[in-house]
Structures are given as C-alpha cells and as structure tokens.
C-alpha cells in the first residue's frame, strides 16, 4: 500500500462503467474486569478493501485483505465479472449518476487520542469500578468493560470521489448482580457510547456510576414486582433510545420498505405512499437524522457511497416526511432519503442503515412531567427488546422502575416490561422532556442485512411521557 489509493484506482485496468474503492482500517480494543480482577483484554486489527463495480446497470463487489497491486487488479476483475454475470437478473438498472463525485474529510473530535491510551490504564479504571460496585456481600458479580475503536475509511471512485474519515469511539458498561435467596437482580449503566477519545473513560464518573448500580441492584432485590395494567409511562433516555431505534429507525429504512430485508429482519408497516402524509406520532414528535451532532456515536460527513450527510427531519410535528435510505434506495423508490448507505466494514456492501436518529427535546422539565402524572410508571435502562417483522408489535423490558403516584416518584419496582404497537404508541406521546433531560445514547450492535452486518448507531433523546401503555412485571 505504498501508493495513494486514488493513484491505485487510476492504475487499474477494467471494463466497468464505474469503479469505487473503499478501504477500511479499524483497531478495536476491548477490556473487561470482573470482581476486582483482570478478566480479558483483546485487540482486533482489521483492514481490507472493497472494490465496487458497475457493469450493465448492476453493482457487484469484491472484498480482499490482500491489497498489493496484483490482488487489487484481481479483485477489480472479479467484481466486474460478478456484476456482468448478475446483470441479466438485476432488480434495477443503476447508472454512473448513482455515484456522484464528492470530496472531503471528517475527523471525530478528541482531546486524548485513543492510540495513546495504555491498556493498563483502562484496566485500572475498570478494576477500580468493579470494586466500587460491591457495596454488599449480596453483590455476587461485578463487571466493567470498555471498548475503544479507531476507524479510518478512505473512499475513491472513477467519477472522482475522494473521501477520508477518521472515527474515534468509546463505549463502556458497568454491571452489578445482586442475589438473596432465589432472587437475583442485575443493574447496569446500559452501554454509554460516544465519539471522542480517552477523556471519555473518566475515573471519577466510573466510580460514581459503579456505586450507584451496586446500590440499585440491592434495592431491586427488595423491590415490588412491576404491576400489571394500563399506565402513563415515562421512559428514561437509556430506554427511549432503543424504542426510537426499533420503532422509528428500522421501519423507515427504505430498503425494508422496498422489501430487500424481508427474508431476514423483515418488512415495514410503512408504505411508500405514507411519506409526506402519515401521522406517525403526536404533534410533539420531531425525529431527525443528524450525523452532524458532535460526539454522537454515528456522526460522519459522508456515507459509504460518498453522499454528503446533513441534518434532515424524518418526522416533523408528528408527520412522516423522509425515509432512511441512501441514493440507491431513493432512486429505486422515488422517496426522499438521507445519506445513510453504510457498510459494517470492508467485507460487506453498503446498505441502508441508521446513523444518528434523534428525538428533538421539548419544553417539559422532568419534575413537571412527573408532577403532572396521577398514576404512572417510570422505567429506565433497557434489558430486553423484541418487535415483529413489520416493526409494529413490540415488547420491551427494563432494569429499573419507579411507581408514580399523585405527581411523585414513589416505590421502586423490579422486572418492568411494557408492550404496544408502533402505530398507536407514538400517537400517545404526551410530553417531551426539555434539553436538561436530553441524553446521547446509541448501540454498537445493530444487526441487519444479508449477508449480515452489525453497525454502530447513535440516538440522542429526551425523557418522554406516553399515555395508556400496557405494563407488566416478571413471573414464572
């Protein structure tokens, strides 16, 4: 790899109508401590290159970890040959217009670059946190983990694109399990994840969080079971982000709506004719695709087809406006989309994915929200999720809940769950928390596509109140 990728593209001999090269280099370091001791440390260094070729209206791909000149030429030949072999059965005739030329770069904002972070320093913070979690002998297992990722994506194409993006990510998780008799309860910090550097692994924050989850795990041992019934439901950001992910993000993916996902993740209840007119939620609902939010987990400047990424409303004042689909799906469907064609790595073709899908804050403080509820339940931190293949009927479980009685948070409740249908749930959105309740979350594990791909997504959301939700607790 001595030559610049652009020069290497120009040196290729090919008969394709268009060629793109996407090189991905990623270093992922993960550390795990348990019960005051080292548990595991692992580094994954992956790099390779995907050749994308357009021949007779069909895109095809060839991925290789061998990037010498001969191997790159062979990969180019194989992608071209594969596209030619598939072209007679293509679903859509793409043209070079579907890969416009763009140039630019992006770099995550960091204070302390991750390549300077010592594994021993990370492990020390984690071991310390597991010790802080053990606030009682009833705490039988304490886990602390951290994930540090640096990714570099270079994209060049025969139409003149040249894009470089450097992404730096940190994710972590603290987990305390308490046991007494036959009762076992686990409380965690969820999986906080941000773009940034080593500054995100702040020892003082870890210590505070560690003590909190240890204490709350103990509290859950003594807690009442979450009641069964229809309640006002207040969702904390560390649960609401996944509700947004599953019941707004996925159903709006244009490749789902076009049917590409039907054999795996499923279809969508959203129809192509719904864009511009469907009342998706109450007028308080404003959902955005925002890859520009500094520090959010899936911020970037360009997607993997080279399309510039900008802030866009998906749902405004409750009305569905735009889908989550990149240029290929926009051309196939005629539906407005966003720059969201992304691949999990060099070894997978890009498909429609979420990036940062956020709910804009409203104007209700947390205190006012609770004060306005006579009979409700507050739930925090996701523990379970499931939704049907049309992204309508869902069920979620949380780690921790509080009963709301006459405008006050009262008893702690264990094993809280709720279920509903997307089509009615968002219409029952009654209050949206203000910017003081707005938190940035996300996930490292969004699975989709055939062949399967796991990708990182971000969701920044406020606390929200929903009316008339079916809730229930655990039982055998």
């Amino acid at each position: 790899m001595s030559k610049d990728l652009k020069e290497r593209l120009q040196a290729l001999h090919h008969k394709a109508d268009w060629i793109g090269l996407r090189k991905v280099k990623e270093t992922q370091r993960s550390y795990l401590a348990r019960n005051g001791k080292y548990e595991h440390s692992e580094t994954n260094k992956d790099q390779g290159l995907m050749v994308e070729a357009l021949v007779d209206g069909q895109f095809a791909y060839c991925g290789t970890a061998n990037m010498d000149e001969q191997a790159l030429q062979e990969a180019c030949d194989r992608a071209t040959h594969l596209a030619k072999c598939m072209a007679s059965q293509k679903i859509f005739s793409f043209t070079t217009d579907h890969r416009p030329a763009n140039s630019g770069h992006y770099h995550s904002s960091t204070n302390l670059p991750l390549d300077k972070a010592m594994g021993s320093e990370v492990m020390e913070v984690l071991i310390d946190a597991t010790q802080k979690m053990k606030v009682s002998d009833k705490i039988i297992n304490c886990l602390a983990r951290a994930l540090l990722v640096e990714q570099e994506i270079t994209l060049v194409s025969s139409s003149g694109s040249h894009i470089q993006q450097f992404i730096s990510l940190v994710a972590s998780n603290l987990s305390a399990t308490a046991q007494e008799g036959t009762e076992t309860q686990t409380r965690t910090t969820g999986f906080p994840c941000r773009q940034g550097g080593f500054e995100l692994l702040n020892r003082a924050t870890f210590q505070t969080d560690a003590e909190r989850v240890g204490k709350e795990a103990l509290e859950l041992l003594q807690a009442e079971e979450c009641p069964i019934g229809t309640y006002d439901l207040v969702l904390a950001p560390d649960q609401l982000y996944l509700q947004v992910h599953e019941s707004i993000g996925h159903p709006l993916e244009l490749d789902r709506i076009l049917g590409d996902e039907r054999n795996y993740a499923g279809w969508s209840f959203v129809q192509p004719s719904d864009f511009g007119q469907l009342q998706y939620g109450s007028p308080l609902l404003n959902a955005v695709f925002d890859p520009t939010l500094v520090g959010e987990y899936a911020s970037y400047a360009f997607d993997d087809t080279g399309l510039p990424a900008t802030h866009q409303y998906l749902i405004k004042d409750g009305i569905l406006l735009r889908g989550l689909g990149g240029i290929d799906s926009q051309k196939r469907s005629g539906i407005p989309g966003v720059a969201s064609t992304r691949a999990s790595s060099w070894n997978r073709p890009p498909i429609d994915r979420m990036a940062n899908i956020n709910i804009e804050p409203g104007d209700t403080s947390f205190e006012d929200m609770i004060a306005g509820i006579d009979r409700g339940i507050y739930m925090a931190t996701n523990s379970s999720w499931s939704i049907d293949d049309y992204r309508n009927k869902f069920q979620f479980g949380c780690e921790y809940a509080r009963l709301i009685e006459n405008g006050k948070l009262t008893k702690i409740l264990k094993n809280p769950n709720y279920r509903g249908a997307t089509s009615t749930f968002w219409k029952n959105l009654k209050r949206v928390g203000d910017s003081s309740t707005f938190e940035t979350w996300g996930s490292s594990f969004c699975g989709k596509g055939e062949p399967n791909q796991v990708i990182r997504v971000g969701h920044a959301v406020p606390v929200c109140l929903f009316e008339n939700v079916d809730v229930f607790g655990g039982s055998s």
């Binding site: 095809a60 970890a65 059965q89 655990g474």
Partner: protein, 448 residues
C-alpha cells in the same frame, strides 16, 4: 476455492505459527486460531439480484501468555506468507508490550498438549456464470427474496505446546422466502456441500405449494392460551435464544442463567425433554478456542434434569468444575434435542384444534430469572380445526417460560429430528446447524 489453494493456506498457517512459536521466550506461551473464507453472496429481492459480493478474508487470533499475564490480538491476513509473517512478528511484540503492564489473569488458560485433528470436506458448487439464471429462472413468477451464499470455510488452531487442528468445508446455503401478494410468506432453505439442481427445484416446488394455503384470509387470534405444534424451524429459534445465557456454566454461577431453578431443583422440565451437544454429523469442528476437543456427545439436559451446563476450562478453573470442552462463550455448537414419538403424518390429527407454528421471530428473554421468553410468530403459521388446516393466522406475540413449554405442557416431540442450518453471516459465514424435532405444547401463552 481449489483444494490446492486450501492446502496452501493450511501450510502457510503452519509456517506462520511455527515461526512465531520459535520466537517465544521461556515464560511465554501462545495459541493461534484462524478463521478464513472465500465466499460468494447473492442478495435477491422479487426474484431479481439486488447485490452480489465475492469476499476473501482470513483472520488470525493470537492468545499470548507471559507468565500469568495474558492478552489477545486478532488481525486480518493477506494470504501472502512473507507479509503475514512480518505482521505477526510485530503483533507478537505488541502482545509483549501490552502484557508487561496488565495485571495477572487469575484464571489464565494455558495451552496444553492434546490430540490433533484434520478434516477437509470437499463440495460441489454451482458455476457462477449461470448461477443467477439457475436460482431465479424457476422462480420468475414468484416474489422470492433471500440470500444465496457459497464457498469455502476454514478454521485452524495451533499452540506452542504442539497441538494442531484444521477444519475446512466447501458448502452452500440458499435461504429464501416466497411472498404472496397479500404479504404472507413461506420460508425455505436449501443447504449442503453438493449442489443438485433437481433438489433445489424440489424444495422450491414444495415452498410454492405451501404458499397456496397462505392465500386464504388470515385469522385474527385473541390473546390467550393455545394448543400448539411448533415445527422444527420454530423449535430451532427457541434453542438459539436459549443458547444465549441458557446453557452457560459461568452464567449459572454468576446469576445470569434461566436454569438456576432447574439446577437447584426448584423447577423441573418434562422427562420427554433431552438436549445434548452432538458432533457426530461433523458439520462443525470439535476443537474450541483453547484447543480443547469436545466429546462427540455432551449430555446437557437429560429427561428434564440438568446433567451439566456447558463448561469451558476457564469456568472450570474458577469454580472448581469439570470442563466439558465448551467454547469461550459456553454456547452449544451442535445442539440436538432428542426426538419423541409423534409421527409426521399424525401431527395435525394429534393437534386437533390449535395452531401450527412454522417459524418464530425476534426472540428475547423477557424475564431471564424465570426462564421467560418473548417473540413473534412468523411465516406460515396456521389455525387448525379437527386436524385440518383452516387458515393462516395474523402474527401474534408470545410470552412464555421454558419451564412451561419444555416442562409441564410439553406433550410430545416428533419422532424425527431435522437439521436446521445456521444461516448467520455476521463477520463470516457460520458453520453447522441444530438438530431438532417438532414439539406439541399445551396452554402456550399468546399475548398480543
């Protein structure tokens, strides 16, 4: 992938490992694992090609031990020995540097001597040049959506104590769905080592026949308890999610297992239910990341009693247990549920009135401590009355504990197990499958 290329890859890996092992100092040990593939993927929608990709990749994982300090680095290899060797030597130095400052690993699993193994399974795959027509021309009148994947999969393991394992196979899997205009669907899979067009056409014909019944008006069910026959693909989904924490020895010890009540005798499962690891079919390697070779059979639950969870050497060392060759995640690699007595031709009459569930979707624990699972029905699921299929059903959510459906309410299992191939392609194509029968269950809770 040509056999000589596979043999070359095997030899390259051996050379790479030996060169690294020679560099080790007196207190250092190392294991080296390899996962590689050359795969073709064709993504299909509406019986047309959406995307096609051709992927060559290989990753080497080094587990490095310096005294009781341990770290692991995985890196992608190019297949060019000189380049990979140079990179591997740099990685070795990185491992040394990382280990210098890390605390000791209290339960480090050092490499050991042991048996060696070598398996290569040849296959016969359809030619690329005519593949799109072969797959899609017979389905041109159908709304077919799915993924065809084929090629060579390789796994290797070597350690500084001299242990060697190698496994490769050449196979294919066409995992697809057929949809009706009213959006009902049937799932079908044709997988194996040797492609036979006649067999593909036969599975496609069967799926088309099944599709006809879905054209009837679907029945909307009320929440409640139902008598249900779960076809093998649906049972496989239950086993897959159960494998997530369900059978792990460390999860049991650390309070994250649904089997706690089974292990203490507080709850029980049906004497009809037996689950084991069974490597007889040779679809997956028996060796794990530690180089341990699993017994051909590992009984896990026998006649409703917990025989043993899956225990790897690390868990065994920490808790003073006996390892049964489990992998790092203590998840079953080749699970098999014992069959029962229900004959295929008697399924509907034995069901009488109730539901025939062919598949389940998006399962998750809704209450891990009580072994409760939630998920959705999916694909061809039918309302049956007096032993006759009446209509398809609208999708329903279930929420039920395994102590119920594999316990007191398990009436029988079908007398034949079916191999349900694993179709996961996250990172790389997955090997193997689940051998499961269908099962008849009473009073199963559908909620919404």
């Amino acid at each position: 992938m040509k056999n000589n290329k596979r043999q070359q890859q095997k030899q390259n890996l051996k050379t790479l490992a030996e060169a690294l092992f020679q560099e080790l100092k007196a207190n250092e040990h190392m294991t080296l694992s390899y996962v590689g593939e050359e795969s073709l993927f064709i993504r299909i929608n509406q019986a047309k090609v959406r995307q096609a990709s051709d992927i060559s990749q290989g990753h080497v994982s080094i587990d490095f031990f310096a005294g009781h300090r341990h770290t692991a680095i995985t890196f992608s290899i190019t297949g060019i020995l000189e380049e990979d060797l140079k990179q591997a030597l740099n990685i070795l130095e990185e491992c040394r540097k990382e280990c210098e400052a890390l605390p000791e690993d209290p339960y480090a699993i050092f490499p050991e001597t042991g048996e060696n193994s070598e398996e290569d399974h040849e296959g016969s795959l359809p030619p690329l040049e005519t593949l799109a027509d072969t797959l899609l021309s017979p389905a041109k009148s159908e709304d077919l959506v799915g993924l065809f994947a084929s090629g060579t999969l390789m796994r290797g393991y070597m350690n500084s104590k001299g242990q060697r394992h190698w496994f490769s196979t050449e196979n294919f899997c066409f995992d697809y769905s057929l949809y009706t205009p009213s959006q009902s669907a049937i799932k079908a899979t044709y997988a194996g080592n040797d492609w036979h067009e006649a067999m593909y056409l036969s599975t496609l014909r069967q799926a088309k026949d099944q599709l006809k019944i879905l054209e009837r008006e679907p029945r909307k069910l009320n929440p409640g308890k139902y008598r249900i026959y779960f076809a093998p693909a649906a049972v496989a989904e239950l086993v897959l999610v159960f494998s997530w924490h369900g059978l792990s020895g460390s999860a049991l010890m650390q309070g994250h297992s649904p089997l706690k009540k089974l292990s203490t005798g507080e709850s029980s499962l049906s004497p009809l239910f037996s689950l084991e690891e069974d490597f007889h079919q040779g679809l997956v390697p028996r060796f794990n990341e530690f180089g341990d070779v699993s017994p051909l059979k590992v009984p896990l639950i026998t006649k409703g009693k917990l025989t043993s969870p899956l225990i790897n050497r690390r868990t065994a060392q920490e808790y003073g247990l006996q390892s049964n060759g489990a992998n790092m995640g203590e998840m079953p690699r080749s699970p098999r549920i014992h069959p029962g007595t229900l004959k295929e031709e008697k399924i509907l009459t034995t069901l009488g009135t109730g539901l025939y569930i062919s598949n389940l979707h998006y399962l998750n624990w809704s209450d891990l401590q009580h072994g409760r699972l939630t998920g959705m029905t999916r694909y061809g699921c039918f309302w049956v009355e007096n032993g006759e299929i009446v209509s398809p059903i609208q999708n329903m959510r279930f929420d039920e504990t395994l102590y119920h459906f594999w316990g007191s309410s398990l009436e029988d299992l079908s007398d034949q197990t079916v191999l349900v191939p694993k179709t996961s392609t996250y990172g790389e194509r997955t090997l193997g499958g689940l051998s499961v029968p269908g099962m008849m269950v009473n009073d199963f809770s559908l909620t919404f």
